[in-house]
Symmetry: C2
């Protein structure tokens, strides 16, 4: 029974191991590799990527997949086997639909594009980057055509990161989010004086920050026998199996919350990877199902838990013990407000919970217009600045802090940004459901007990890996599709209360 | 010109990159991998090893190699190209002469053998290990036959680690070394009271040990932009390119010299890998030519430099500053003697410069007798103990500290041990030659200046990578073959002086 299926599974397992080996190389490169090791590392990473890709798109895999699909009748409905065949087919078709010549050109242009962008950003010189953005958009259009899409070109790109999501589904979601957030931000700006976070700028020894972060990670459930915490310039989470899921953070001596929220964010990603069903290990069903669902896990722990009052009712006295001189005279309530301060700012990665989505929506709208030729690359900086003015009330003084700030477009990452906001929305949808299932959740969090929430996430989301597409997962867990209301209510309630705004 | 040659070079370069990727996985496993990551790591390492091996022994490589050999006339005598073809042919024939079934059986038996050995050593139970040693010896005999040898079976095994070396060459070398060392050790034992090293057991903070080690590494010429120093249970050096050569050491709070000599030893290995000709990078000529020559580099820095009086004339005052309380009352001469204390001991890895080779010769003799059936596996422990008594005057109280102490045999590493002593011998031969070329070498070392020696080694040994077989390298550099006299004179002079012995 399922002989071809088993052979396919073995082959896909080997391909996955090659990918995991590549991930080890990537982790080392960003965490411990000596500077001059980069050149050889590029060769090593690229040969592994090439071998894995060749094995995957080869006729051997194609034939095994077809043969295994012929055994479908042997498997039960909703079985893991059928899910694996579905996901393998999706991955295979995606990998084979695009002509190799286009993949090679995209890789080359995006590699050079990133280099050009790095210099352009440094020199605040959009003009040298513009022709590269133009080329990248052209290639992305070709890519979208090769992949295929029903209505909007954007959908083909989005689907790489968020299966089944479309621009037609996102448009009303984002419109509704704008209609709530833009006035909320304006009202908050008028009452900016209510929240002061200057005291977060006090110097805190890095070693103590790290110790505190490790302690919180452990108490939340992060298993150091199956992971590590290291330092990186840009914090990330990576995994080489469900039993080796590593996170990184960065330390700012004069902004101690940065390292801690970095830990909590990456921990959320890590829990997702650590808690897949063990039997999915080495199969296409292992790992997170989409970037949006992944981000919902990181945002849930960073913001919905880590920036909640109940969390700090437990941890603030502990923090005051560790950094007594810095915080003993600061009340819990002042600390809670400080870590939730809202202020329009130029840089997406530094934005707070409320303004963050406006940065995303701006990018999403521009990506659509650029792709569909409604906006020219030459006019893009002005469009960026106009949107910044309209949504956040501020205008970048230069392109380096405006349209040139993100690496994504230069590397071909178009269609990626919306997943950040999808993560924010979904996180609140999960949390609403978790609260229903765990009536004493807030009391638990207030007591520093995270097992209930950890287990609920594991059981309802993490264990399924890629078995259900994101839309189906949301419906299975929450009983309805992706919905903006819980998120909007959350923002209104939390920040309305902090700033004394009734929206 | 050389079209097939170029294609071969590209292919071998890709295979080397896969091997380097595997080495990154190995480094991570021994340095930073969380404990539960081991199972998946084994899968990842094994698929890389499999892919690299398959690519190497494939008909594609075979045909390219043959075609490139057809272009030999295009290359000059003593050219890198001809050397590459020679080394590639050697590696290819070695990899293809042995039937796959034998390789698979050896891998399986040795993997299990290591497990059995680990338990047997822990339980001091030679009997459970004996049948495995018997099987391993049987497989090694088959291997030697497949590889082929002219006179002694041992030669086929030895050649894997030390090209061109044979038992017939080693026998007189080792006999002569025994005839000098055994009486020297006996004379030293009679005067053991002349050297006291108790004060080395004083507690020294690990952080300061590490700082001191890093400083010495840097001053000797180790480039941290092309390497790293980390911790490992068993210190090692590994490399992923000439620009990423990493070392590890271990810290003993109550024996501070352990971490420092660990650093110097691995640094010697690292220099060899870091200083190959850049144009050999990615080719079969990159890297060290043999284990013996490699070990000559580590021993040279650890013992001939690091345990010399001139080295400590410079560094001892510095060490006294760092560990003032521990060493300010200890004279340089007492410190110098302490780090050169000679005492017969049971465990090879803890042995001093003089007794070390007797541990090796014992193993070498037993390996030959076991392979050739002159000694039975059942009688081996008694033979071991008798040799210990004869060479070092001590008898292990149990097999765990006797015949079961080393991992090598259980993993199939038979023929490996002699390279340690070859390294000792060669190190002195190089050093003698370097002193001729650099008349002020001792003054430089006394002043903490290492550039002269570093450059001499780079130019004469390191840069050549695998271009010249070990025997040829020795002749090119020293003008004569591998010779025992300089080493024997070195031992007599250095330890005769320390212990007041005239041998």
């Amino acid at each position: 029974m399922g002989k071809s299926y088993d052979a396919l599974k073995t082959r896909l397992g080997e391909i996955q191991s090659i990918g995991q080996a590549g991930a080890v190389l990537g982790w080392d490169q960003r965490v411990y590799m000596p500077p001059k090791g980069a050149e050889a590392r590029a060769r090593q990473s690229s040969i592994l990527a090439k071998l894995g890709h060749e094995m995957f798109v080869s006729p051997v895999t194609r034939d095994l997949l077809a043969a295994a699909e012929g055994e479908k009748a042997e498997f039960a409905e909703d079985s893991d086997e059928l899910a694996m065949l579905r996901v393998a087919r999706r991955d295979f078709d995606k990998s084979t639909k695009v002509p190799t010549s286009l993949i090679v050109e995209m890789t080359e242009v995006c590699t050079l594009g990133e280099e050009v962008w790095t210099k352009a950003r440094r020199d605040n010189d959009y003009k040298t980057f513009a022709p590269w953005l133009d080329r990248i958009l052209g290639l992305k259009r070709q890519y979208a055509k090769a992949i295929g899409y029903q209505k909007r070109m954007y959908d083909a790109l989005l689907d790489d990161f968020e299966e089944g999501m479309t621009a037609d589904l996102l448009d009303p979601l984002f419109e509704s989010l704008k209609s709530v957030t833009i006035p909320l931000v304006a009202a908050i700006v008028a009452r900016a004086g209510r929240v002061d976070d200057d005291f977060l700028g006090q110097e805190c020894e890095e070693r103590l920050q790290e110790e505190f972060g490790r302690r919180v990670l452990k108490e939340c459930g992060y298993d150091f026998a199956r992971g590590r915490l290291d330092r990186a310039a840009h914090p990330f989470c990576t995994h080489f199996s469900i039993n080796d899921v590593r996170i990184t953070t960065r330390y700012n001596r004069t902004w101690m919350t940065e390292s801690l929220f970095g830990c909590l964010h990456e921990m959320g990603h890590a829990f997702y990877e650590m808690n897949g069903k063990p039997e999915y290990e080495g199969t296409v069903l292992s790992g997170g199902v989409s970037l949006g669902v992944h981000e919902s896990q990181s945002r849930l722990w960073e913001n919905l838990v880590g920036r909640s009052r109940v969390f700090w009712e437990h941890y603030y006295p502990e923090l005051q013990k560790v950094f007594a001189q810095q915080f003993r005279r600061i009340e819990l309530e002042a600390f809670y407000r400080a870590i939730n301060r809202v202020t329009p700012s130029l840089i997406r990665t530094e934005a707070d919970e409320v303004t963050y989505n406006l940065h995303i929506i701006l990018r999403y709208e521009m990506e659509n217009e650029l792709l569909e030729g409604k906006l020219s690359v030459a006019d893009a900086p002005a469009a960026w600045n106009a949107k910044m003015k309209g949504y956040l009330g501020i205008v970048p003084p230069n392109d380096a802090d405006g349209i040139l700030q993100d690496i994504h477009w230069s590397g071909g990452g178009i269609g990626y940004f919306p997943t950040y906001t999808l993560g924010n929305i979904l996180g609140v949808q999960w949390m609403e459901k978790a609260r229903e299932a765990l009536p004493s959740l807030d009391q638990e969090l207030r007591a520093g007990k995270f097992t209930g929430l950890y287990e609920w996430l594991r059981k309802n989301i993490h264990q399924h890996g890629r078995k259900y597409p994101p839309g189906e997962l949301v419906r299975r867990v929450t009983g309805r599709p992706l919905t903006i209301e819980p998120y909007v209510n959350y923002l209104r309630k939390k920040f309305g209360e902090i700033y004394g705004v009734t929206a």
